[in-house]
Symmetry: none
Subunit: 205 residues, 4 copies
DNA sequence: ACTTAATCGAGACGGTACGTCAGGTCTTGCC
DNA sequence: GGCAAGACCTGACGTACCGTCTCGATTAAGT
């Protein structure tokens, strides 16, 4: 997270255990209190750590919560279920399961909201949350092309644009369903969504 | 906004001008400061109003911002452009234009985030922001069915589910593109999105 | 303590009771904790008052303690005991009694120390603590002159210088005895001091 | 300052230079910042020393400042000027010159103030600051008695009491003039003070 | 015109959290 | 073992907003 590669690393080294304790305490506080009532003093107390230790490592609430929530998305992966539709359904369900957890619900949109006025924060979110998810889209498409379910790309730039589009559609739909409409993105919904995504409104009707 | 229809309403009536001034001041503060740095004391000062006046009408920051942002969405409408695709492109572009404004960018996701732990707030958002948008989906589908672009519904419950799905996909995609990916939802993107929405990944490829 | 004579005094007026409660709490905390361990947060709590209320009225610990300690000196007066020697002994004993109280012991020299680098603070000390005491010197001298114990002044400037000198000698001796030598300025000591002051080392020997 | 005479003193011996550097840095910081803004971390940095080194030798800020200020008083001596009055004037001027230095002004009364609640600190002040000064009083009296300016003592206990009294009067007056009245104890003032001390108010008038 | 009563501005109030700073301790690795 | 470096826990700092309250002054509707 922070590297001081130059020079000899003098002085007492930072406790590695503190980082983990702080992030776990942050998630715990998110569950109990939600974003707006979460205070850094409380997180420090839960983690058994001084407030100064926390501020030495994170610039503020936003950065801390991004790192705490980002770890939730580490478990996302794209298991091979044999078909494009099945692959999509699988990964969307995983994504929905993460968004169903209260620590993600309250924290994620809050930091996204803050990131609209803080470029460094947006970059941090992109690096640790968004880009890893986007890689799943690329991997899924490659697999579908290998199976012959999708045609190979001709224009690489166009291909990148399409991947971004698909990612926004998939992630956006699940987030909106979960947080705005406040309805569960369960198996039935995911089947319907995947059908529309693959076949379109006209084809799915 | 609030009615005290029972009883006779004696005494000095509330200033109608104050409401408008407060909401305008709220949007102004959202633009300049963003959600997290917006304070009610500052809004009151901008509006030339005492803090008590503000608290007499809104319960807090969340409710105030919902009302201030909701007004931005009042201008959304569904002009008849002759085809389903053109109708979708038109309304999506309008939606994107609203989300491009800084007062919406910073405020909207923040209150959505808060609403994950506050049912009354979620209901307020739904009523004044979400449901009016959802009506546009219904209106668009009816128009497309009248044109023969989409088959008439058979199962009304299934039809409601589909409308919700479409709404989550459309709104979610635009929001995600604009706020998370932080890229503009411009005409080119909207064309690509509409194509995928109507034809699906397979059909659009 | 603070007057806002101009204009109309709008807004909620300051609580008069709070001032008294805060000063009393300050003295209480001085007794229990001493200057260096006294915290404004603790004083606020003892006074049943918010920290902000305290800061609204005093700039900091120094100013607060000056006001709290100054009240102790309000009781100083110069009773007519019939002779210059008896008058001096009487007022010095009173002064010593005040300096024997723990709230004065810990607080007084601390603010004097701070005042060496803070002109406004020195002025505050002078106005509310020192000058009233100095008036007693002038009053005592006038009385002694009326009795014929001291000759009337000829040069008024010289008279002012002498009054200052006497004040520094009297106050300084008692303070030094009490705080530096840490011995009680009891009746015996006061008698000896008065004898030296009136007759000098040579005359007193 | 601290002796570990028992045992064999193994390991690296303490740097003698560090002690001097720390005390000098302390006085420098007192001049620049004053007592209340002086921090041990800053002193350590100025002295080019780690905070641990400092704490290994002094228990805290109070003890450190006492030692740093005490060195200022080492230069006090009682040169023989031929008469009691001249001797007093000489030593009082020296004392006043030390108190005029900012490192003494800010530091001395602060530690005296602290010493009202810390017996060990008071003892340290007495040993390293007060008692050496008091010796000057004894020496001056002996010299005056040898000259026949003062009668020889009859009661040794009474003599000790008188010496203490004189010391409190002299030191107290200079301290009060310098720090409380914040006026210079210059030659003119010292002449007036000495005259009153020797002849008394009545005799000096 | 005269009450009546809720509104308005101003700003003080009790709180809570902020982010920083200093005190004093502990843990490294080098000397 | 001393030492420089710097992380650590603790606790206070002074500030900013919160949402409530207390003022005196308006301001309409009902008399």
């Amino acid at each position: 997270m922070q590297s001081r590669s130059p020079a000899v690393r003098t002085g007492r080294p930072r406790s590695a255990a503190a980082d983990a304790a702080i992030l776990a305490a942050t998630r715990e506080a998110l569950v109990e209190l939600g974003w707006s009532k979460l205070t850094l003093g409380d997180v420090a107390t839960r983690a058994g750590v001084a407030k100064t230790t926390l501020y030495r490592r994170w610039a503020g609430k936003n950065e801390l919560v991004v790192d705490a929530v980002a770890e939730l998305f580490d478990e996302l992966e794209l298991p091979d279920r044999g078909s494009l539709a099945a692959d999509i359904e699988g990964v969307v369900l995983q994504f929905a399961a993460i968004l169903a957890r209260p620590e993600a619900r309250s924290g994620l949109m809050a930091v996204v909201s803050e990131s609209t006025r803080d470029d460094a924060l947006r970059e941090r979110i992109r690096t640790s949350v968004v880009d890893p998810q986007k890689d799943l889209v690329l991997e899924g498409r490659a697999r579908a092309q290998a199976r012959g379910e999708l045609p190979p790309e001709t224009d690489p730039e166009e291909a990148a644009r399409t991947a971004d589009l698909i990612f926004d559609v998939v992630a956006g739909a699940v987030v909106h369903r979960t947080l705005v409409s406040a309805e569960p993105a369960d198996e039935e919904w995911v089947r319907g969504f995947t059908r529309v995504l693959l076949l379109g409104l006209v084809g799915a009707a």
